[in-house]
């Protein structure tokens, strides 16, 4: 039965349809794998009863020929997504044992299409982090290790649980969210495929908010095809989220294997950083050559405001976060620390309920929005954001279909290795990904190779607004050329 967990969604879909195995068997195989891999700390809540119930329902539907596009496919759900009657915490102590009486739009669409919930996945607290070390449930371990080393590595973040679980075969795919790189960076660190769709493509309703103008849900899967399959179920307009866009959801899977001949691929010179490891540089040009070999045309492009993206992001995102997290006040739900009066109750509950990184960002956000500082920080950051967006628009206006960049400036690092003294060291992980959130564009991270220590590296493709299809086509080309990288099992 262990074989079942290593199937892709596309393969499992076929197996279920041809009755080679049942959804129940597929789910049980995953539940067993999860149990055996608790050392990775990918799941913060396992829901085996719910999973078997859903699998049984899927089998019944499949038997009647009424199975949806994801019938019987077992998935993990990032703990940022509200799941009805199932504890949802955003991996923050402040949400305690919060059990939402509602289901997020994105997950409700997955269940509508027949998917099976295996459990809730670990993430950085409120999605604030790039290593999954800020979770109140403790860090997630990357299934990948450096060759010949037992050092535990981070899976990236904030969707570290999602990436780790997908890479370690603990689910067939996972939901994730990306505010500054939280899907793409962990995907790159774990040799999985992660796509952050265009802002507005997926509903944010029922997803615990970090930075509303940047947050976007997307899938992490083991292949571009699987990511495309999941995307189709996750995407779509939602009247409950006025920032979601009313555009028809295409059949993303149809883009897999579509020719990329004649496509213009931009190579942005500003992404060539000083001191960037040579292997990243090499991977990038290799990726470009694969696309060229598939018939695409490479053009050098300029995104001149790239260098301002990270500082601007670390103003905009904390500003929104400081306001979004104000609702966690101990009054209505979640953690409430006893106190003599209301002010003290706020102070005690929030001081105890939020971890260091969350507190740091709430403080930064409060500061940049304060009277006298607003113009110098928040307003200026918004202007930078407009310029970044314009950089991309100018580029696409010249006929560029997509832009190829490295996904991360390095491979996965050790737990506790970064950001201890200087949080900026951790923030630099998102240097290639934040621009995409600032511009609201779609971006995909695809595994493309390994570094000298045998750790996976990924490439990022950035697309035009609502043109995720092109990213899937191009991603597939890289996947075909680079091959797939299964994580060696050691647990």
């Amino acid at each position: 039965m262990t074989d079942l967990t290593s199937l892709t969604i596309a393969e499992a879909r076929e197996g279920l349809a041809s009755k080679s195995f049942t959804a129940r068997e597929l789910t049980d195989a995953h539940l067993a794998a999860i149990e055996a891999a608790r050392v990775l700390n990918a799941y913060v809540l396992e829901t085996p009863d719910r999973a078997r119930e859903m699998a049984k329902a899927a089998d019944e539907k499949i038997a009647k020929g009424e199975g949806g596009p994801l019938a019987g496919i077992p998935l993990g759900i990032k703990d940022l997504f509200a799941t009805r009657d199932i504890r949802t915490t955003a991996c923050s102590k402040i949400l305690g044992n919060f059990i939402p009486p509602y289901e997020s739009t994105v997950t409700s669409q997955l269940w509508r299409d027949g998917a099976v919930l295996l459990g809730k996945l670990n993430n950085d607290e409120f999605a604030m982090g790039s290593s999954n070390e800020t979770s109140c449930f403790g860090p997630v371990t990357n299934p990948w290790r450096r060759e010949g080393s037992n050092t535990t590595l981070v899976p990236g973040g904030s969707s570290g649980g999602s990436a780790s679980a997908v890479a370690a075969l603990l689910c067939m795919g996972a939901t994730a969210t990306d505010t500054g790189g939280s899907i793409r960076q962990p995907a790159a660190f774990t040799a999985t495929v992660g796509i952050k769709p265009t802002y507005g493509r997926c509903s944010r309703w029922g997803i615990v908010a970090f930075a509303s103008s940047l947050d976007q849900a997307g899938p992490i899967a083991r292949t571009t095809r699987d990511a495309a399959i999941l995307m189709r179920s996750m995407a779509g307009h939602d009247p409950k989220d006025t920032t979601s866009v009313d555009i028809a959801v295409p059949d993303y899977e149809a883009a897999i294997g579509k020719s990329v001949k004649g496509m213009k691929i931009g190579i942005p010179k500003e992404y060539r950083l000083d001191g960037m490891p040579a292997e990243i540089e090499k991977l990038w040009s290799e990726g470009a050559q694969w696309l060229k070999a598939a018939g695409a045309e490479l053009v050098e492009v300029s995104l001149p405001h790239t260098k301002y993206a990270l500082p601007a992001y670390y103003i905009v995102a904390p500003a929104e976060a400081s306001s979004n997290l104000a609702r966690y006040d101990g009054v209505r739900y979640g953690l409430r620390e006893p106190a003599k009066n209301i002010i003290e109750m706020y102070e005690n509950s929030r001081a105890d309920g939020f971890g260091d990184e969350v507190r740091r960002r709430v403080l930064i956000g409060t500061y940049v929005l304060s009277a006298g500082y607003y113009d110098a920080y928040y307003l200026r950051a918004q202007k930078v954001r407009t310029l970044i967006k314009k950089d991309f628009e100018d580029c696409f206006a010249k006929g560029v279909h997509a832009i190829l960049t490295p996904a991360t400036p390095s491979a996965a690092f050790g737990i506790g290795e970064k950001g201890g003294a200087d949080p900026v060291e951790m923030y630099l992980n998102d240097i290639f990904t934040v621009t995409v959130n600032m511009a609201g564009l779609p971006g995909i991270a695809v595994p493309a190779g390994k570094d000298t220590q045998g750790l996976p590296l990924g490439l990022q493709l950035i697309g035009r607004p609502f043109d995720e299809e092109t990213l899937f086509s191009l991603g597939e080309v890289i996947e075909q050329a680079a091959g797939r990288f299964p994580a060696p099992k050691w647990w």
Partner: protein, 493 residues
Amino acid sequence: MTASAAPHKLIKSATGDWEVVIGMEVHAQVTSNAKLFSGASTAFGGEPNSHVSLVDAAMPGMLPVINEECVRQAVRTGLGLNAQVNLRSVFDRKNYFYPDSPQGYQISQYKSPIVGEGEVVLELDGGRSVTIGIERLHLEQDAGKLLHDQSPTMSYVDLNRCGVALMEIVSKPDIRDAEQAKAYVTKLRSILRYLGTCDGDMEKGSLRADVNVSVRRHGETTLGTRCEIKNMNSINFIGQAIEYEARRQIEIIEDGGSIDQETRLFDPNKGETRSMRSKEEAHDYRYFPDPDLLPLEFSQAFVDELKAQLPELPDEKKSKYINKYGLTPYDASVLVAHPDIATFFEVVAEHEGVNAKTAANWVINELFGRLNKDGLDIKDSRVKDWQLGSLLMAIATDTISTSSAKMVFDVMWKEGGGEPGEIIERLGVRQVTDRSQVQVQIDVLCLQNPEKVEQAKAKPQMLGWFVGQVMKRLGGKANPQLVSDMLKEKLGI
């Protein structure tokens, strides 16, 4: 706006005359079934926390969705205030911690409100009028209510009001005394009621005002430091608070002190204002555009359509009453003060055979008298508009006398309506209009009193005695004018 040129009261003091400068922020609850950003009911008086959606309670991951009816109401109000309606406006977050605000911020409009500059014309005593400028109107969420009397150690919160739409209507500092301030709120409330955009019920808190008061020496052109008196929910209290606050500020300045910019509360029991918080203690609200909401945009056609459907407003109505119905400006103002009164009056005045001036007199004197006595609203009047109309028609057609009509009205009021015709018959107060019946009584009276007939010919004042006798014989049901005319003819006087 030339309010400073308008007549107003100056406050005289030992060191000269002082001018009071007043600006107001009126919070008007939008009339709508659902809240500004959620589907929860806005009904007043529900069990605590019975009208609360997931959005209102700020559950994790919940998002606001604008209620379009609230937008229409704000646009209607803007049009009713002759104001600039902005086709693009932005919702901002006003951040502060308080348990009545579950999100930790209020969604409001800061830099780009839905409605810009407009005006309200006030009519003051003596037929003078003054124009008060409107600075802006914006939409925002109301807060919940804290309950401190439920437990000795804890406070509770009721979120029923939380998220209900408010229009904050900000005036320019054009108001110059307490009378104008009261007239402004009265007029504004009347306009809102005509538009149907706010019920104006100050007791239920549907209309509250923050009053900014400053003083300066007469002739000065710069504004003094202001104090804001928060949360006034009575027009009379607004007047009292301004009177008190202006004198307080003048005294301080005359004693060589200066005014501290601060927020104050009015204590209606003591009739004075007291400090609530100083400028230093003021919140930094950290306003920024709400990233959960796109800018609010609509077309000019949307505005034009609402404009075309706008009801007649009090100013238009008043001039119609004066010009079409011939009412005095005073009567007209009384009748247009509330749309329910105007509607009642118009039904009576438009009733077949009824004279509009008579209708106005009856509504203002008889009807208002009864309503006041019984403490009733006009919409709960025990005599309905069409019933009063048909009573007044009975007078106009000489079916009953005016004094009988008052009797009939009494009965109608007591019985809670009723068909006037039926009551007239029941009371037997129908006037005798048959000349032959009157003639018979006149002839008999004259035959019985020949000496009086002779006396009357020399002394026409005797006529009154004859009229009285005939009326008595006819049980008071004759038209006295008719009797008088026929007697004059008989007696040859």
